[in-house]
Subunit: 426 residues, 2 copies
C-alpha cells in the first residue's frame, strides 16, 4: 500500500522536512526490528502497527481536520492533565513527542547537559521542528511534577505558549484544595480556547470516554495475568503509548477487540512465550514512543514483561473518575479525587506507590522487578531506593537500571539483565 | 589558648569521634589557608574566626545547655523554615551540616550517584555521624524546594525524624493558602515539641530577633557597595553562613560592631582591595560552610565578590517580617507574606529573581556576574539559562559555573574565572 504524501501538511505545520524524513526512516526501521520481528503476535496488533505507521501522517491529518471544524488540540506531557475536560468541549488530547534522542544539539543550547532524556527530547523535538503534534496543538499543557520539567516549560514557553498546572507535593486537604483550584482554572482555560462551555452533559460524556479507554487498558492489563501471557510486554507497552495520541473512541474499540482475541488465547492456553518464561514487572520512569530499549532487551533475553508500573502503564489507567455525578460540581469533585490518587514520585511521602508495586508483583506473579529510571530523573531515581527496600522485604528480586535514550549502553544493559534473569530463574 | 576537650560531649551525641577529629583537622587547615591568609581583614572578623573555631565545640555546648533548660533545638536546611516561630518558644534554629564532601560512601548507599553535593553532604554527615547539629536537634525540618531534597528527606527520616514543610511552586492566592496552612501547622508542631504556646508577646519578640539579624546583615550588605569594598567576599559569605547557627542576639550585636568598623573604613576610603578591582556578583546555589571554593578562586584571581544572590546571602535577608501586627493572626499573616516573597528557583515562573539579580548588579556596581550551581542542582542549573539571558539584555557579562564540593576542578575553574575577569576588565 502506497502511503499518501503528507509533506505539504508537514510543511504547513512548520516541520523541518529533511530532518523529519530522516526521523521517520529511523523510526520505521526501529519499529520493524523491534516490533515486527516478534513471533506469534496477536492479530489485533495490526491496528497498532497501522496507527504507528500513520502517527505522523493520517493521525495528524485527522487533527488538522478536527481543527478546521473549530475543535481544539491540546498537547500534554503528563497523566495529570484532565483529559475529561478537553473531551467535554470536543477537543483532542495528545501526548507530545518525548521518547527519542533527537535535536540534542538544539536542546543543549537551552538546557543543562545533565537534563533527563525525556525533557531534552521534547525540547529537541520542538527546537528541531520534528514533532507534528506540538505544531498542531492549540494549547500545550505542562505541569510541576519535577524540577526538570517545571523549569524546562519556562524555556519551552519562549517557543510555544505553555500553560502550566501546579501539581501538589503532598496529599493533605490543603493539597486537594490547591489541586481543585487548578482543575477549575484549567476548565476555564479549556472553555476559553474552545469557545464552548463545559456542561454536565458534555462533561459526563468526556468522563465516560476517558473511563472507557481506561477500562479497555485495564482489561488488557488483566489478561496479561494469564500464564503464559497472551501478549508481549513490548506490544502491551505500545498499546499504552498509543493511548496517549490515538482517537479515544476508535482506540477503545480496537483494544477491546484485541482483548477479545487475547481472552481466547488465554482460554486456550496460547501465549507468546513458554509457560516457564520469567515474568518481569517494569517499574519507574515513563517510556514514551519510541523508547522501547529496556523491554526489548528483556524480551530478547528470554523473559516477558507482564506489567508496567509507570505513567505509560498502570499509573494512567488504574483509577476511574466516578460516573455518578449529577451536577457539574459533582463531576469536578470526582475528577479532582481521581487525579489526587495518582502515586507519582513527585509526592512526599509516596509509600502508597511501594504498596502498589508489591501488589502488582503479586497479582501478576512477577518473578522479578526491574526498576528503570531515565538518567537524571531525580524523583524516580531517588525513590528507587525505597522501592528496592520495599520489595526486598517481600523477597522480590529487584534490578535497578538507569539509562538514557542512546544505544551505547545496550550491551552493558543486556549483560546486567541476563545476569538478573539468571538469578531470577534460580 | 588551649581548647576545651569536647570529646565526652561528642561521644554523648553519638558522633564518630575518629572521623570527627579528621574532619576538624581538615576544616581547620582549610580555614587557615583560605580565611586567615587574607590581608587587611577587619578586626571584627575575629569574632567570626572564634565562632568558626568553636562551631563544633562551644556552640554545641551552648545548645546542650539550652536543651537542659527544656528549650528545643530545630535543625533546618532551608531559608523557608520560619525561625520566628522557633524563637517564640525559646527554641534555637540551626542550619545543619551540608557544605563538605564527607560520608560520600555512606550517602551513595542510599542516594543516586548523580545527586547534588549538598544533599549527599547532609546525608553523608548524618550517616557517618559527623554533624553535631543534627545530633543535637530535637526536630529536623525539611521542605519540598527541590526533587532531590524532597525525596532525600524520606530517606533521612529513616535515620532521624524529619518534619517536612510543603513549599508551593507558584505564587497564586491558592499557593498562599497552602503556605499559610503549612505555617500554621508548623506553629502547632513547634508548640507541641516545646510544650509551650506561641503568644502575641513571644512571637513579637521572635519576629524582632529574626528581623534584627536580617537588619544587621542588610547593613553589612549595603556597606559592600563602597568602592573599594571594606570587606572581602569570603568574609561576608562567612558572616552569612554563621548567621544560620550562631546565637542570634550575640551574632546581631557582633555584626553591628563589625559594620561600625566597616563604616569607618568606607568613610576613610579603606578597602580590602584596590579601587579598580573587578567587582563580582555571585548568584545561584547556596554555599554552606565550608563551601568556599568559588569565592576563594575569584578573590585570589584579582577580583572581589561584592554580593551573594543566594539563600546564603541576599535571599535570606532581603525581606523583613512586618512588625506592626497586634494579634497572633496578624503576625502569622505577616510571616506568611514575608516567606512568600522568597524568589527561590523552585517557583515557576520566577521572573522576579532575574529582576533582583539585575538590580543587585546595578546597585553593587558589579562588573560581572558568576552564576554558580552545584552540579545536579536542577532548579538553579536550569534557571541559569534565563539568568544569563536576562543579564545579557542589560549588557552584564556572565559566567556560568557548575561544580561540586571536590577540589579536582579547581585548576580548571581558576582558568575559566581568570579568563572571565580578563574579559570583564576589558
Amino acid at each position: 500500500m502506497e502511503q499518501k504524501d503528507y509533506r505539504p501538511m508537514w510543511k504547513e505545520l512548520g516541520l523541518n522536512l529533511e530532518g523529519h524524513d530522516q526521523l521517520l526512516a529511523v523510526l520505521g526501521k526501529a519499529y520493524k526490528d523491534i516490533y515486527l520481528s516478534q513471533e506469534n503476535r496477536p492479530k489485533g496488533m495490526q491496528y497498532l502497527d497501522f496507527v504507528i505507521s500513520e502517527a505522523h501522517g493520517l493521525r495528524i491529518e485527522e487533527l488538522m481536520e478536527t481543527k478546521k471544524k473549530g475543535n481544539k488540540v491540546v498537547g500534554t506531557f503528563c497523566v495529570y492533565v484532565p483529559e475529561e475536560l478537553i473531551l467535554a468541549v470536543g477537543g483532542t488530547c495528545v501526548g507530545l513527542c518525548a521518547g527519542a534522542e533527537i535535536g540534542i544539539d538544539e536542546a543543549e543550547k537551552v538546557l543543562p547537559r545533565n537534563t533527563c532524556a525525556l525533557i531534552k527530547s521534547f525540547m529537541g523535538f520542538k527546537l528541531a521542528g520534528l514533532c507534528p503534534y506540538i505544531q498542531a496543538s492549540d494549547l500545550v499543557v505542562g505541569e510541576t511534577t519535577c524540577d526538570g520539567k517545571k523549569k524546562a516549560y519556562e524555556i519551552l514557553n519562549d517557543y510555544k505558549e505553555t500553560y502550566v498546572m501546579e501539581i501538589p507535593q503532598m496529599k493533605t486537604e490543603r493539597d486537594r484544595a490547591l489541586w481543585r483550584g487548578e482543575v477549575v482554572q484549567f476548565k476555564e482555560k479549556v472553555e476559553e480556547i474552545a469557545g464552548r462551555r463545559i456542561t454536565p452533559e458534555n462533561l459526563r460524556q468526556g468522563i465516560k470516554t476517558a473511563n472507557d479507554k481506561r477500562r479497555a487498558l485495564q482489561r488488557l492489563s488483566t489478561l496479561r495475568k494469564a500464564i503464559p501471557s497472551p501478549i508481549s510486554g513490548l506490544d502491551a507497552l505500545l498499546v499504552n503509548q498509543i493511548a496517549f495520541y490515538d482517537d479515544p473512541l476508535r482506540f477503545t474499540k480496537s483494544i477491546q477487540a484485541l482483548c477479545d482475541e487475547l481472552e481466547d488465547r488465554a482460554k486456550n492456553g496460547v501465549g507468546v512465550v513458554k509457560n516457564r518464561t520469567p515474568r518481569i514487572l517494569m517499574s519507574g520512569s515513563p517510556m514514551a514512543v519510541p523508547n522501547w530499549k529496556i523491554p526489548f532487551i528483556v524480551e530478547t533475553s528470554g523473559a516477558i514483561v507482564v506489567a508496567e508500573e509507570s505513567c505509560v502503564g498502570e499509573r494512567s489507567t488504574r483509577d476511574l473518575v466516578k460516573e455518578d455525578g449529577k451536577t457539574l460540581d459533582d463531576m469536578i469533585e470526582a475528577i479532582v479525587d481521581r487525579y489526587m490518587k495518582i502515586d507519582c514520585a513527585c509526592f512526599t511521602p509516596n509509600e502508597e506507590r511501594i504498596g502498589h508495586i508489591r501488589d502488582l508483583a503479586k497479582e501478576f506473579k512477577a518473578d522479578g522487578v526491574i526498576h528503570y529510571n531515565i538518567q537524571f530523573c531525580t524523583p524516580y531515581s531517588m525513590e528507587a531506593y525505597k522501592v528496592e527496600k520495599g520489595l526486598q522485604q517481600k523477597g522480590i528480586p529487584t534490578l535497578k537500571i538507569e539509562s538514557d535514550y542512546g544505544m551505547e549502553d545496550a550491551g552493558q544493559l543486556k549483560t546486567r539483565i541476563e545476569a538478573f534473569l539468571e538469578m531470577v530463574r534460580g
